[in-house]
């Protein structure tokens, strides 16, 4: 089995760092165009039009679309048969080096500092930065690298709800988060709103963030019940009379993505995440043979990722 060359992974990591920073994903841009078609309010329209112009300027000038780099991070999906040259330690070295290099070459604003001492290496690399998360895929020999540069400060919240809170609880907390960060546009909406339901506290945060950052606009959850909830929440969010920058309008939620994980029988943890007007993500699939394909849809949530069976024969599952 052939190894995936270290240099190739490094090159792909550098390329997606630049692409994510400069090129707004097509699904997001088309979604904003669609919202502009619906938006009736002049100030909200003005913001959406300025953003469309901004993305054109970014691509034409090869300039970052937003000077706030957010917190660049990586998601690695490795085929079960994939073997990176030098192992995964070498892959992590390549990803860290690519982050530092892109910071200088694009340029990106150095955003990452030590939380206490505010130490800044001016390259977006440091302790636990960039974060690298992993998932695996059966019957594949490629490695996919995805980088996400998510805005860092506003638009995310977590709450422990309980089964009795039901849909009302979910909707309320969704509204709470949108309104508290939507005023004055702190969330830089319209946002792809990602919701993590279930798991434990950290799982709910992780799933919600991945739902916001790793699923394209327009792609519903394959579970029809969850897809229905997504559509309802999107509708609700666009009917609070608030648009971009907190101006009167209807453009708040460009799409809503919900991901779930089995949770404690007594609880329903929920997290909400807003992926902003600079929804920066880019993916490279690096094949063992040396080809690299680039795209903006990470295709992170594969059927294998969301696997719902226990994997062996069992009696019929009980549902509430």
């Amino acid at each position: 089995m052939s190894e995936i060359a270290r240099d190739l992974l490094h090159e792909a990591a550098s390329e997606i760092m630049a692409r994510a920073a400069i090129e707004i994903p097509r699904d997001y841009r088309d979604g904003i165009r669609g919202m502009l078609g619906q938006e009736q309010h002049e100030l909200s329209r003005f913001v959406l039009e300025a953003m469309l112009e901004n993305w054109e300027a970014a691509e034409a000038d090869r300039r970052a679309m937003c000077a706030d780099t957010g917190v660049p991070r990586f998601y690695v999906k490795a085929g079960n048969e994939a073997r990176p040259e030098g192992g995964f330690v070498a892959l992590e070295e390549a990803v860290r080096a690519a982050t530092a290099e892109a910071t200088r070459s694009v340029p990106l604003r150095p955003n990452r500092v030590h939380p206490l001492w505010r130490t800044d290496h001016d390259n977006n690399v440091g302790i636990n930065a960039p974060e690298i998360e992993y998932s695996f895929e059966p019957d594949a020999d490629w490695i996919e690298l995805t980088t996400v540069h998510k805005g860092g400060l506003f638009g995310t919240d977590y709450r422990m709800l309980f089964p009795a809170d039901g849909m009302d609880g979910i909707k309320r907390f969704f509204l709470d988060t949108l309104v508290q960060f939507g005023r004055r546009g702190l969330a830089c909406q319209p946002a792809i709103v990602g919701i993590g339901l279930g798991g434990s506290k950290d799982t709910s945060m992780t799933l919600g963030k991945q739902a916001a950052c790793l699923r394209p606009v327009g792609e519903p959850n394959p579970d029809p019940g969850i897809a229905k909830l997504e559509a309802e929440l999107k509708e609700l969010g666009n009917n609070i009379g608030m648009g971009p920058m907190g101006f009167v309008g209807s453009s708040m939620v460009i799409d809503c993505h919900v991901e779930v994980g089995y949770t404690h029988t007594g609880g329903m943890p929920m997290s909400v995440h807003c992926f902003c007007l600079s929804s920066r993500r880019a993916t490279a699939r690096v094949h063992a043979g040396g080809e690299v394909e680039y795209r903006s849809d990470p295709r992170w949530f594969t059927p294998y990722m969301r696997r719902e069976t226990v994997g062996w024969p069992t009696r019929l599952a009980r549902t509430a």
Binding site: F46, A67, P110, L153, D168, C188, P244
Partner: protein
């Protein structure tokens, strides 16, 4: 009722007459020179009494709450890419003294400040607040920068906090958030959306477990 927004091109230093023309919701583009400054600059000037290496008053009366996406090459040359504002609300405590020391009349930033800040700090100093748009318009604003004159205190404060002196042309779009009378666009819009927000909550029962701070009295339990 709000009037139809107008578009203004303002040259620095912006004159009191030009400021008087601005109404909230108007669109503004800037020409001339502006400088970035945030807590790094404010702490040094206001808390530590340090004097900036350049005479801000002579330079421009426009202060930009911003950290650019920039890098410094080995030879010291500056490469500036995108430019985005940073949230201004947290600089409130510095503004009174800063207005005095710098003579700034225009603050450009993100998200505005409170109506109380406009009334107590901006109006007495004849200053207005212009907000960037989006807020992700970094590429458009970066395009508006024609030359980087200097980055002061770069060594000590780092790229993000240094005082970047930028020559700009058609720098924008910006929106007038506060005018000379202290009116606020954001506060106006907050009031206008309040009713619809209430309606969206109608009929949704509150969660069984509250969060500390959600209850009115500190003696209340969250259960």
């Amino acid at each position: 009722m709000a009037h139809a927004p107008r578009t203004h091109r303002l040259s620095t230093p912006v004159s009191p007459g030009a400021l008087a023309e601005l109404a909230i919701g108007d669109i503004v583009y800037l020409d001339g020179v502006i400088y970035t400054g945030r807590e790094g600059l404010y702490r040094r000037m206001v808390d530590e009494g340090m004097v900036p290496p350049v005479d801000l008053r002579a330079l421009s009366n426009v202060n930009f709450h911003c950290s650019p996406a920039a890098s410094v090459a080995e030879d010291g040359s500056l490469n500036l890419g995108a430019v985005t504002a940073t949230a201004s609300f947290r600089f409130s405590r510095f503004m009174e003294r800063f207005f005095e020391l710098s003579g700034a009349k225009v603050i450009v930033g993100k998200g505005g400040m409170s109506e109380a800040d406009y009334r107590d700090l901006f109006v007495p100093n004849g200053a207005v607040y212009l907000t960037t748009v989006g807020y992700g318009t970094g590429a458009l604003l970066g395009r508006g920068v024609t030359r980087v004159q200097a980055a002061h205190w770069l060594e000590d404060l780092g790229i993000a906090q240094a005082v970047w002196v930028l020559e700009v042309s058609r720098f924008g779009p910006l929106l007038v958030e506060s005018d000379l009378a202290g009116n606020s666009l954001f506060e106006r819009e907050n009031r206008a959306t309040a009713e619809a927000v209430e309606r969206a909550y109608a009929g949704l029962k509150p969660p069984s477990l509250s969060r500390y701070g959600e209850t009115v009295s500190r003696g209340d339990e969250v259960l």
